[in-house]
Amino acid sequence: MSAATRGSTENPPRMSLLEIQRTMATAVMMPLTPSEDMQPVTPDGRDMHAVAETFIAPNQQLTAFERLELYNRQYWYRLLDALADDFPALRAALGPQRFEALSVAYLGAYPSRSFSLRNLGSSLIPWMAEHPEHSGRRHRLALDVARIEWAFVEAFDNAQHKPLTTDQIRTLSGDSRLSLQPHVRLLALDHAAVDLVLALHRRQRRDSSEAGVRHEDSSDAAEEKLPRVSHRPSWVVAHRVDNSVYYRSLMREEFLTLAAIESGYSLGEALEAGFVGTRKSPSRWPKMVEQWFADWAEFGWIYENS
C-alpha cells in the first residue's frame, strides 16, 4: 500500500500529483492584492499560509507562502506583460496605470484559458464594449485602438489559404460564394485612428530605445498626449504581405462588399450589398469594382472554400 493511500497517523496523507497541480494552479492564478502580494485567503475561505504548507516546503529564507507567492506574482506579471505587449497603443492612450487596472479587471473576467498567450486578448474588445468605465472619456477611441491592435495579432498569424487561381475564376458566376483569407481583418472604426496607433507605436519604440526600459512605477497616471484624431467613420483592413502586417484604408463600398463576401453572400449579392446607401454615381461602380477585385486578387485576399 502506498503512502498516499495508507493514511499515516503521523503525517497528513500525501496529495496526489493531480491534487498538487490543481492546488498550485488555483493559488498561482489568484489575483494579487492591490499591493501585489498573494491573497492571504483562498477563494473558498481557507488560510493561504496553511494551504501553502500542505504542498510547499519552506527553505532557509522563505516560508512556503512566500515561495508560492513568487509564482503567483510571476503568473500575473507575465499575463499583464503579454497584454501590454499586444496593446501598446491602448496602453499609451489610457496611461499605464489605467491600462493595468483595465487589464486586471479583464483578466478577472476572462482568465487565460489557452495554451498560447497569443489568445489572451481575444475577448478584450467585447469586454471593453461592456465596461466603458475602464477606458474613461475616450472610450470610443480606446475601443478603436484596441480593435486596430487586435487586428494586428490576427493578421499576423491567421491562416492563408491558396488564393483564387485563373482556372477557378473562369468557373465563377454571380451565385459563387467566395471566402476572405483568415488573415484579412476588416475594421469599421468610429475614428480615423490607424495613424494614431502607428504614431504611438513609433513613439514607444523611440522612447524605449532612448531610455532603455523606462521605469514607470513612479509616474503619475497622466495620459500621454495624443496626436489629433478625427472623429469620423473609417474603414480599414489589416492584412499580411510577406510576413508583415499592413493597414489599408478602404472605401465604405469596398468594405461592405468584402464584409458581405466574408459573411457568405454570393458574389452577386455581395456586389449589391456593397453599394447600399452609396451616393456614388452608378456609372462609376463598374470601374471601382474592377479595381477592388484586381487589388484583392493581387494581395491574394480571396479564395474559394471548397
Binding site: Q74, R78, A84, R118, F156, L198, H201, E272, E298, I302
Partner: protein
C-alpha cells in the same frame, strides 16, 4: 436596368480578379512587381515591440538566490518570440498534442 448593372458589376469583378491574379503571378517571380504590390499594401506596422514596460520577468521579485523560482527566467522564454518579426505565419489553430 438593375439586372444590366448587376451584370456589368459581375463582369468588372471577374475582369479585376483575372488582372489581379496575373499581377500576383508576376510578382512571385519579379522583384520589381513584388515591390509594387507591397507599396500598395497600406501602412506597415512594424511588429518589433519595445521591451515590456514594467513587469520584466527577470529579477522583478528579487527571487534570485532565494530559492523557490529556479525556473522563472526560463518561464519568460518562448512567449511570442516570433511575433511581429515575420517568418512564423502559421494557421495558429492547433494546440500541441500534449495539451
Amino acid at each position: 436596368m438593375k439586372n444590366q448593372l448587376n451584370a456589368l458589376l459581375l463582369t468588372a469583378a471577374l475582369t479585376g480578379l483575372v488582372g489581379g491574379t496575373s499581377v500576383a503571378a508576376n510578382a512571385a517571380t519579379n522583384p520589381n512587381s513584388a515591390r509594387t504590390t507591397v507599396a500598395k499594401a497600406g501602412l506597415l506596422r512594424t511588429g518589433e515591440q519595445a521591451p515590456s514596460p514594467k513587469h520584466s520577468c527577470k529579477g522583478k521579485n528579487d527571487c534570485k538566490g532565494t530559492g523557490g523560482c529556479k525556473t522563472s527566467d526560463q518561464g519568460c522564454k518562448g512567449k511570442n518570440t516570433c511575433k511581429g518579426k515575420g517568418g512564423c505565419a502559421t494557421d495558429g489553430s492547433k494546440a500541441p498534442s500534449f495539451v
